[in-house]
Amino acid sequence: MNDDIKLEPEESYKESTDIRLYSGTDCKLSEISMVMKKKPTKLIILAGPANSGKTTLLATLNDTFQKGPLSDYLFAGSRTLPGFERRSHLSRMVSGNLESTTERTKIVLPSDISFLHIDLYSVSTETIISYLISDISGENFKQMRDSSEECLQYSIIKRADHFSLFFDCKELVDNENRNEAKMNGLLLLRSCVEAGILNGSNFIEIVFSKWDFIANSEDQEKIQHLEFIESIKREINKRFSQKLPNISFINIACRPQSEILNDGYGLNDIVEQWTIRKPLIIQSVPDLFEEKNSRAFLKFNFQ
């Protein structure tokens, strides 16, 4: 007998029971490679001030897919269903509130950002697309907005395929707050671009959430609001379109407070946008010929 081995039955039992079970709640940064290594995955970051509708979008996405397909897409599984359910829970409770509510995203360290996972099946292309979606809390958003150095901590954004920046239309229709709301979004974009974490390889979606506030307004006011939103779009294009060529604008109203818009208005637009694949960049005119080229046939290239 080997005397070195003294394994008590209880200890061995303890060791054998030390199994970590996957909770099904949000994936941490250290866990997302589990999903990413298995199949092609799109990483989506939702950013915006507190109460701008980021978590509501996730909850509505969950609710919508429980009811059926969303345009071309069917729900094809999720490793974080309890995480989705937790976000939907508050809105489903019969609480007597006039408005549906959603759990607020907690402030976390950049390294503790968590993700929700969802697989969608595209009927037209007959493929499954995996998504990892994270919403950055309003407080984290503030820190990022105020400093490029803080932005640098969020290096995950560099890897993100899509960066969806939320502008809250409830704020944009309020004459007192709308300029601040506009500047907050612009400042965040500027900080991210200056820090180099957003660049031409990211798709940027500017999401005007709670669009029902615009749709419900009176005709004269509505024109003013739409003009203001157009001014935001112009400013974003003017300032950032060179460094961020893939910018698109989407209007959504996940839980509209009137009957003018349907529940989940614009949701299919944003899901459609998330499925866009990076366009292939064809190297058309290599530098090689710019100086040496004296041949007419090759000069056609430059036309």
Partner: protein
């Protein structure tokens, strides 16, 4: 290792450490030095996630497991695809193999990718890299090199050279070297001239083809081309003109021009399956039933369509082979480009096979 390795690997592993980077790098280097050209070509199937030679797949994984005991063996299919892409990209950048093989691999990656929406592809980074390689290669090959100046070393014979045998031998060596230098230069210049003539000839042929406005293969004017698949005929003819891989200058403009001449809109779309079914049997040229067509979706589909009795039984094998949707809409311009590239790949393969 390829300069973009860490960026590509970050697609599957966000927290990449120096240690992991080194391990993967070593495995990639070993694969490049150990595997033969044919096996390296087969890595394209792994890159695109198609069914492949199981033994090769296991060998491929074994290289990474030898370097890293913690390398996962299940549920990491996409990681393995990315690594296969890294091996191929590193190979064309600094692999010590014949340039023709590099061309063949790059062309095969592009044709297998089949640009344009038949299936979503998260590997655009790799595709751009191979595309860039081929563009640069195509242009490098087309540079018309000026003849090199012939400089003969001046020989200074001494007066008493005949009396001094050692000096005479040295002078003789010098004379021989100069002679060899001259012969080499003349051969080199001759080669340059031949290449220049070939380049001009190819470009003139393309020019006359466009100006002449008639199909060489069908012996008909473009405007009277009643073929149901002018894209395929035109791509085939253009590939026949191309002596230097790949892409003639103004490639896209040429395609647009000739497609408009046959009345096809470059950006017009049609269903891939319908297009294949419409190709008249007598117009199918050079369909090779060789392994290389495993990298050529259109040739493969045409091959299967000829073998099958009806218009739909070929869809399933093509769908399975290339993981694509044959009922997807495809741009006419992209289809022509794809068939052109496939024709070049087959041409290059035939050339290499002798």
């Amino acid at each position: 290792m390829h300069r973009f390795f860490s960026d590509w690997y970050r697609i599957v592993e966000f927290n990449i450490t120096d240690e992991i980077y080194k391990k993967r790098e070593n495995a990639v280097k070993k694969i490049i030095s150990d595997l033969d050209e044919e096996s390296l070509l087969k890595l394209i199937s792994i890159l695109f996630g198609f069914s492949t030679d199981e033994a090769l797949y296991n060998t491929f994984i074994a290289y990474f497991r030898d370097e890293d005991n913690l390398f996962k063996s299940i549920n990491n299919d996409f990681e393995i695809r990315i690594l296969a892409g890294c091996v191929l990209a590193s190979l064309i950048v600094d692999g010590d193999i014949d340039e023709n093989y590099k061309d063949l691999i790059s062309l095969a990656v592009l044709t297998t990718f089949f640009e344009n929406n038949c299936r979503p592809c998260p590997l655009s980074g790799f595709i751009e890299e191979f595309n860039k390689y081929l563009w640069n290669r195509s242009r490098e090959l087309r540079i018309i090199k000026k003849p090199e100046e012939l400089r003969v070393q001046k020989l200074e014979f001494q007066e008493n050279v005949s009396n001094n045998w050692s000096q005479a031998a040295a002078q003789f060596d010098l004379l021989k070297k100069s002679n060899n230098y001259l012969i080499n230069k003349i051969n080199d210049n001759q080669q340059r001239l031949i290449e220049s003539f070939q380049i001009f000839s190819e470009e003139l042929n393309v020019c006359w083809w466009i100006i002449g406005g008639s199909s060489n293969l069908l012996k008909k004017e473009f405007s009277k081309l009643k073929s149901s698949s002018p894209e395929i005929i035109l791509a085939k003819e253009l590939a026949n003109f191309t002596e230097f891989n790949v892409f003639p200058p103004v490639f896209d403009s040429i395609l647009r021009k000739v497609l408009s001449m046959v009345g096809v809109k470059y950006s017009g779309k049609q269903v891939f399956a319908e297009m294949i079914n419409n190709v008249p049997e007598k117009e199918i040229f050079l369909i090779k039933d060789r392994y290389i067509i495993n990298y050529c979706p259109i040739h493969y589909a045409l091959n299967k369509a000829i073998e099958s009795d009806d218009n739909s039984s070929w869809l399933a094998p093509v769908k399975k082979m290339f993981n694509m949707n044959p009922n997807a809409l495809i741009e006419c311009g992209s289809l022509t480009k794809q068939f052109y590239l496939e024709s070049l790949l087959i041409k290059l393969d035939s050339k290499m096979q002798g």
